[in-house]
């Protein structure tokens, strides 16, 4: 029997925690991880003794640069009283903690461990915006940095290739931003729990108080067209196309499938996972797709025996609005060149056929880069457990959800499918 591409034993998620995301200069990553960890322990229905954790895997992109401290694995082991058991830090830019999750799964599937804590964290608020931009650009290709590309600039460039290939313009991106911001107020952990309409009202109120003339936007798209409130960052990417700078942490408790019911009567199982790599711009055959995402998705679909049509909702890595459109095509939810249309038709809304980023996505929930991979899987876990409150996907028999995480300018991508049985 062919074993390659399958796990030797199943893995379940039995608990999870996520901090409120935002900018918290007066706290640090130990505080963030503590907040997520305490929620995770409390979330385990039948209780659990943290001493039983066999190993810890944590993702962190660049606290080395952001807070001048490396070697974060032992800091977390010390924090949790996990010493002297093993802790491993993973780094893959914005996909750092998706790899922590993956390593945790592989360690359990191999039979080495039964109970593994996986998580991620980042603190970006201690640096200026320019310094954060420089720190993030360290994860781009060196050729792109030398030419003067910024992170938003890389995605902006991809956007112009997409526009030219499919005959659309910047207006199609507005639908992504408006959709994500409509989900945000439903997520109590979101950094910006505001719809675009809320932003418009705040602005109008401000003008009213100052006695200035009130802006007359016809609708949300008209607001997004206004360069005063939505200035360019790297044309055609504007402020509201870009995710914010954030602090935060997330964690999940993984256990082998055979002991999952000792922790909860409602475990969420890993159905499939994949990871891929991409060339940078100059070596890409097609500028409007990521081979890393396609490869990761193919692996995950094959492992799970599922197809894109089986995925009932998904978190995707919307660091920039154009990225969400490209990812939903690469993951197979829409045909190449039709993602923008799916979004325009409302199919990715919370009540659409394939809700995308029910959490509000990186754009509104926040993007503490090293925490994001696990934070996305936390959202999938919460949704499948039926505990997403007002943002619960309104489908009967919600059973299969997925998360797509994307590192750097596409150099590392993962796709993970979870299921409720």
């Amino acid at each position: 029997m062919r074993r390659k591409g399958k796990l030797s034993r199943g893995v379940a998620v039995v608990g999870g925690g996520l901090t409120k995301l935002g900018l918290f200069k007066d706290r640090n990553c130990k505080d963030f991880f503590t907040e997520a960890f305490v929620e995770m322990v409390d979330s385990i229905d039948k209780g659990f003794d943290p001493k039983e954790i066999d190993a810890v895997y944590v993702g962190n992109y660049s606290n080395d640069f952001f807070v001048n401290q490396s070697h974060w694995g032992p800091i977390i082991a010390d924090l949790l009283g996990h010493v002297p058991k093993p802790v491993t830090r993973t780094e893959a830019a914005c996909a750092s903690s998706a790899l922590a999750f993956r390593e945790g799964v592989l360690a359990i599937a191999s039979g080495l461990y039964d109970i593994v804590l996986v998580g991620g964290f980042e603190q970006m608020s201690k640096r200026t915006t320019e310094e954060v931009a420089e720190g993030l650009a360290m994860a781009a290709s060196p050729y792109e940095v030398a030419a003067g590309f910024t992170f938003p600039g890389v995605f902006a460039t991809m956007a112009t290739a997409y526009f030219a290939k499919y005959g659309v313009d910047r207006e199609v991106l507005f639908n992504v931003t408006i959709k994500s911001h409509n989900n945000a107020p439903l997520n109590p952990k979101a950094q910006f729990p505001m719809s675009i309409r809320d932003f418009m009202n705040v602005r109008i109120e401000k003008c009213r108080k100052k006695g200035e003339p009130e802006p007359e936007w016809r609708d949300e798209k008209d607001f997004l067209r206004d360069p005063v409130v939505n200035p360019p960052v790297a044309w055609p990417m504007h402020l509201f196309d870009c995710c914010p700078i954030s602090d935060g942490a997330a964690c999940l408790l993984l256990v082998s499938e055979d002991i999952a019911k000792n922790f909860t009567d409602d475990p969420i199982y890993l159905a499939g996972m994949g990871q891929g790599s991409s060339y940078s711009f100059h070596a890409k055959k097609d500028l409007t797709t990521y081979e890393a995402t396609r490869y990761a998705a193919k692996e995950a679909y094959e492992m799970s025996g599922l197809a894109p049509k089986d995925i009932q909702f998904s978190e995707v890595h919307d660091c920039f609005s154009i990225a969400e459109i490209v990812h939903i095509e690469d993951l197979g939810f829409f045909k190449p060149g039709e993602g923008w249309k799916g979004v325009a038709d409302g199919l990715t809304k919370l009540d659409g056929s394939i809700p995308i980023n029910t959490s509000g996505g990186l754009k509104t929930k926040g993007h503490p880069v090293g925490a994001t991979g696990v934070a996305q899987l936390y959202e999938v876990w919460v949704q499948l457990r039926g505990k997403a409150g007002k943002r619960k996907v309104p489908k009967s028999n919600l059973r299969i959800g997925a998360a797509h995480n994307f590192g750097g300018t596409g150099g590392t991508c993962t796709f993970t499918i979870l299921e409720r049985r």
């Binding site: 420089e134 003067g148 044309w235």
Partner: protein, 137 residues
């Protein structure tokens, strides 16, 4: 015969000499710019240098408004944006580069497909002196 190793250092030296030099796989003929020591098409490791004509078309671009610190040093900022892009060379390979000759303040007028020609930029002084391949509309 050019004997330099097929790496980034050689590539930058050639740019300083105002040449766009890439590698060609002796086994399958695949072109790479910047040069590669290992062919990503056939995994061959026998390479030869090939000089590109330096002509191509704009495949994609951005006008960078919020500039990183090293570009701010050159005088770029919110009021003085600059253009970067992906260039598809006549020979088939692609490269990323600064794009000059467009009005960066009017990016909506820049057209994908515009013909471009190689330009060589020099910046910084003393040990900071650097040589960059750019393209001009």
């Amino acid at each position: 015969m050019e004997e330099r190793p097929f790496n980034d250092t050689s590539y930058e030296q050639f740019v300083k000499e105002r040449k766009v030099m890439g590698s060609k796989c002796k086994n399958c003929g695949a072109l790479s710019l910047p040069p590669r020591p290992i062919c990503i098409s056939c995994f061959g490791t026998k390479m030869e240098w090939v000089e590109f004509k330096g002509t191509g078309r704009l495949a994609a671009f951005s006008s960078i408004v919020v500039a990183p610190p090293y570009m701010v040093k050159e005088g770029f900022n919110r009021n003085n944006p600059y253009v970067v892009g992906v260039v598809e060379l006549e020979e088939g390979a692609k490269t990323v580069a600064r794009i000059i000759g467009f009005d960066a303040k009017k990016p909506e007028l820049i057209k994908v497909g515009t013909p471009l020609k190689a330009e060589f930029l020099e910046k910084g002084e003393g040990p900071e002196r650097r040589y960059l391949l750019a393209f001009k509309a």
